[in-house]
Amino acid sequence: MSEQLHQKMGLSDQEYALILHLMGREPNELELGMFSVMWSEHCSYKCSKKVLQSLPTEGDQILLGPGENAGIVDIGEGLAVAFKMESHNHPSAIEPYQGAATGVGGIVRDIFTMGARPIALLNSLRFGPLHYPRVQYLFEGVVAGIAGYGNCIGIPTVGGETWFDPAYQGNPLVNVMCAGVLPASRIARGQARGPGNTVILVGARTGRDGLHGVTFASEGLDETSEAQRPAVQVGDPFMEKLLLEACLEAIEKELVAGIQDLGGAGLTCATSEMSSRAGSGMIIHLDRVPCREEDMSPYEIMLSESQERMLLVVENENIKAVQDIFTRWGLEFSAIGQVTGDGLLQIYHRGEKVGELAADFLCENAPVYDLPDQEPPYYQKLKSYDMQAVPQPDDLEEAFLELLASPNIASKQWIYRQYDYMVRTCTAQGPGGDAAVLRIRGTAKGLAFSADGNGRYVYLDPYKGGMIAVLEAARNVAAAGAKPLAITNCLNFGNPTRPQIYWQFKHAVKGMAEACRALGTPVTGGNVSFYNETSGEAIFPTPVVGMLGLLENLSCQVQKGWRRASDRVYLLGDLAGSLAGSEYLYALHGVLAGDMPLPDLERAAFLHQFLGEAAASKVITSAHDLSDGGLLTALAEASFAGGFGVEISLPHPENVRLDELLFGEGQSRVLVGVSLEKERDFLTLIRSYQLPWQLLGEVKGEKLTVRIQEEEPLIDLSLERVKAAWEEVISCCLD
C-alpha cells in the first residue's frame, strides 16, 4: 500500500499512523477507503466535535438528542416530532437541480428512518447577486430541484428563507429541513441489534455515482476500470416515495429491528454506524448487493453514494413479512448479510473476505481536533465603523421603496409558488408567514417551524450573530403563537483549518449555545458544512437554525397580516433598531459594518412567553416579527398579508437618526394588532411582563402613512404602490 494513497483519499499522515496502530497492520485499499470516508468531517465531525459539545442537548421534551439520524421531541398525547436540517451546498454548486433534489431526498430519509411520517419540508438558501447569469442558473436550478423532488414525494415545502449576497456567489448554500410525526413509543433506531438477524438492502440499485462524495473526487483509484464515474448523484423521488411508504409500513408493523438510510459514505457508513451504535458487527456479502453496472469492485460498492437506498436489520422470522411489503411496493429486496456479536465488519465478495475491521474504528476512533483560532483583523475594524459617515436619505419614501425592492426583502413568491405547500392538507400557514404552521390530525395541536440565519450579522460578530440566529428562529414561531421547543441546525462555514474561520465557528456556536440555554430550546442534531469557499474566499459564516414550536391549540394560531380596520397597532420591544449589519445599510449605502447591540436573552424569553400567552388568550389579532428591513418593512409586510393600510405616528427620541428609527434592525421586536374590544385585556397582560411596548397607530384604509408625532407624514404611499415595489422583484431580476 503506497503512502500516497491515504493522502489522495484525504487522510493525513498522522491519521494514517493512527489507522496502522488501530488495525495492527496495513489496511487494504477497501479498508483505507472506508476509513477515509468515515473519518471525513461530514461523518466524524472531527474538527467541530469539541466546539459542538458546548451546545445544550437535553431537556424534558427531548426524547432523542444528537447521534441518530434525527433528533426527536415529545409533543404530548403520545406523539413526537423528528426533525433535522442538512446541507447540500457542494453538490448544488456543481449541478443545482440534482444537488438540491438529492438534498431533499437525503433529509426525508433521515426522518422516515426514525419511523416518523414526514409532514413538512423547509429550506434555507443563499446565492450571489441575481444579476449574474451563473447565479440565475444556480438559483433557478436549486428551486426547481427542491420543487421537483419535494412535490413528487408529496411532502409539502411549507417555508424557508432565501438570501442574496456576493459572499455566496461562488458557493451557494442549500440547507434543507424535514420534520415528521411519530408515536413517542415507537422510535425506530439505526442499530444492528440481535446477532443472527439478517441485514437487508432495499431500494435503488447501487451504481458508481457519488463515490467519495464525502471526501474528494476519486480519479485513478482503480486504473483497471474503464467505467465513467459520474460524481453527481441523480435523485429518483418516485423510488423514494415507494421506499418511504414501504419502510413506514414495516416499522408500523414492528417488523424492523433496526433501520438506517444510505447517505454520505453509503454502505460503509450505514453498516458501521448501525453496528457501532448497537455494539454489534456484521458480515456483508457484496456480491448480493444489486448493482446498476457490471463489475463493480468491492471498493465501489462499499463507497457508492447512490440515492434512495435503505439498510434494514430484520429478525429472521419477520423476513417473509418484510419482503411481502417491499414486493407489494415494487421494490428490490436483498438479504446481504448477518448481524454478528463481535463488533467487526467482515466484508466478503464472491466468497472471499475482502476487508475486516472493527466498526468502532470507523465510528468511535476518528481523531478529534482542537484547531487554533484567531480573531480576524476585519472584526475590530468593522465594529468601530463610524455610522455618521453614512448620509441620511433626502427622500425617505424613495429610500423605503428601494429597500423593499432589495431581493433580500422582496416577495419570495417566485420561489414558493413552485413548491407544493398544500399537499397533505395540513398547512395552516404556508410560505410567506413568520413561521409555517401545520395541524396534527387527530389532535387540537399545531406545529410551527422556521428556518433562519443572517450570515451578515455572524460575519460582523459571530458570537452575537449566533445568538441572533436562534432568537430570530424562536421569535418567528413565537409570533405564530407557538412555544419554541428545540432546534436543529446547519453550520455553514469556510475552511476550519484557517484560524480566522475557526474563530468564527467557535464564537458563533458559543452564541447559539447561550441563546439555546436562555430560551430552553436544546439542539437535537444537525449538520456541519465546512470548506464553503471559492478561490480562498469564504462565505459569510452562516449558521442556520431550524426551530420547532408547538401550539397546544391550533385555533389560537396568529398570522402576520392585519385582520381588521380599526385594530390598534402596538410595537413590543425597542422603538429604534440599529443600522449595524442592516439590509438598509447594505442595500442603499453599500456598507457592511457596525456593532450590533448585545441581544438581551432574558427579554427574548419573556417576549416569546408573552406571545404564547397573548395568542392563547386571543388578545392579539396579528403578530409579525421585525427583522430584515426594520420597522417600516414589517409594517408593509403586515399590510400586504392583511390587505389593509396602516397609519402610525412615532416619537422621535433624541440621538436617534430617522433612518435608524425606520429601517434599523434589532432583536425582540414584534408588531401586534389588537382589536378595540380586547385592548384592555391586552394592556393588562403586557403590563404584567417586563417588556417595553408602545402604541403606534391603527390599521386603516389603503395607505401606509408614517409621521413623527403630529407632523406632516414622512411616508404617505398607497399600499398598491408599495406592494408593486416589493412584489415582482425576483421575476424581474431573472428576465
Partner: protein, 232 residues
C-alpha cells in the same frame, strides 16, 4: 354513499381525498390498491393527485395501464361517478376515458397557487348544487396542467357541454393572467359526453375547510352527495 380512492404507486393526494370524504363529509371511504380488480362497491371513485410512477414517460401514462383501470372503465360505462383530480385527470386522459391531453405548463414551472373557477356546466352530478354564478376558489398544484385538444375535439366538447370549469378572475372574468398554466381556452376541467366522468386540475379536496383557505371544494362533493340522494 361510499367513496373509493385509488392508490397508484406515487399517488400522494390519496390521503387528502380520503380525509375530505371521511372528516369533512363524514361519509364512508376506503383506499383501493391499483392491483385490485374491483372497486369494492364504491359509488363514486376518485383518482387522486400525485406523481404516479414519478410522472415518468408522461404524467398518468403508466398508471392508466394499472389492473384497476379495467374496473374503472367498466364502472364508467355503467354510468358510475368517476372524479379524477390533477394526476387523476391525467390518468383519465391517458386511459381514454376523457378526450385531449395535459402537458407542460406554458411557463415550464410547477405552479402551486389559488385559482378561481367558473362553472361552465352546472347540470352535472358534480356541479348541480353549486350556487348559480358562484366562482369557486380552489388551488392548483401541478407542472403539467396545460390542456390541449385538436379543434374538432374542442368543437365536440363545446357542443356537448363537456367543458366543466374554466380559470377566471375572482370576479368571474376570463383573463389570461387568471390562467395558471396556459391551458387551451382556460379549461380547468372537462367531463365525458355522458357527464359521469369528471377530470379537473384544481384540487377540490384541498379546499374543504376554512383552515386551509377555502371551503369551496365542498360544493363539488356536496353536489355528488345530493345527486346520490344524500346530504352530509
Amino acid at each position: 354513499m361510499k367513496f373509493g380512492v385509488i392508490v397508484f404507486p406515487g399517488s400522494n393526494c390519496d390521503l387528502d381525498a380520503f380525509y375530505m370524504v371521511k372528516d369533512v363529509l363524514n361519509k364512508p371511504v376506503e383506499y383501493l390498491w391499483h392491483h385490485e380488480k374491483t372497486l369494492r362497491g364504491s359509488d363514486c371513485v376518485i383518482l387522486p393527485g400525485g406523481f404516479t410512477y414519478g410522472d415518468y414517460l408522461r404524467p398518468g401514462a403508466i398508471a392508466s395501464f394499472s389492473p384497476i383501470m379495467t374496473a374503472v372503465h367498466a364502472f364508467a360505462a355503467r354510468g358510475g361517478l368517476v372524479l379524477g383530480i390533477c394526476n387523476g385527470f391525467q390518468v383519465l386522459l391517458e386511459s381514454g376515458l376523457l378526450p385531449g391531453a395535459l402537458y407542460r405548463n406554458i411557463h415550464l414551472q410547477f405552479r402551486c397557487a389559488w385559482t378561481h373557477l367558473s362553472v361552465e356546466n352546472p347540470h352535472l352530478p358534480f356541479t348541480a348544487h353549486i350556487p348559480s354564478g358562484q366562482v369557486l376558489k380552489i388551488p392548483v398544484a401541478h407542472g403539467d396542467g396545460n390542456y390541449f385538444c385538436d379543434p374538432e375535439t374542442l368543437e365536440t366538447l363545446k357542443k356537448n357541454n363537456q367543458i366543466v370549469f374554466r380559470y377566471v378572475t375572482p370576479e368571474g372574468n376570463l383573463d389570461s393572467r387568471a390562467n395558471p398554466n396556459g391551458s387551451l381556452e382556460a379549461i380547468a376541467g372537462i367531463c365525458n359526453a355522458r357527464g359521469n366522468v369528471l377530470g379537473m386540475m384544481p384540487h377540490p379536496e384541498r379546499a374543504g375547510e376554512s383552515l386551509l383557505g377555502s371551503r369551496d371544494g365542498q360544493f363539488i362533493f356536496q353536489s355528488i352527495l345530493k345527486h346520490w340522494g344524500e346530504s352530509s
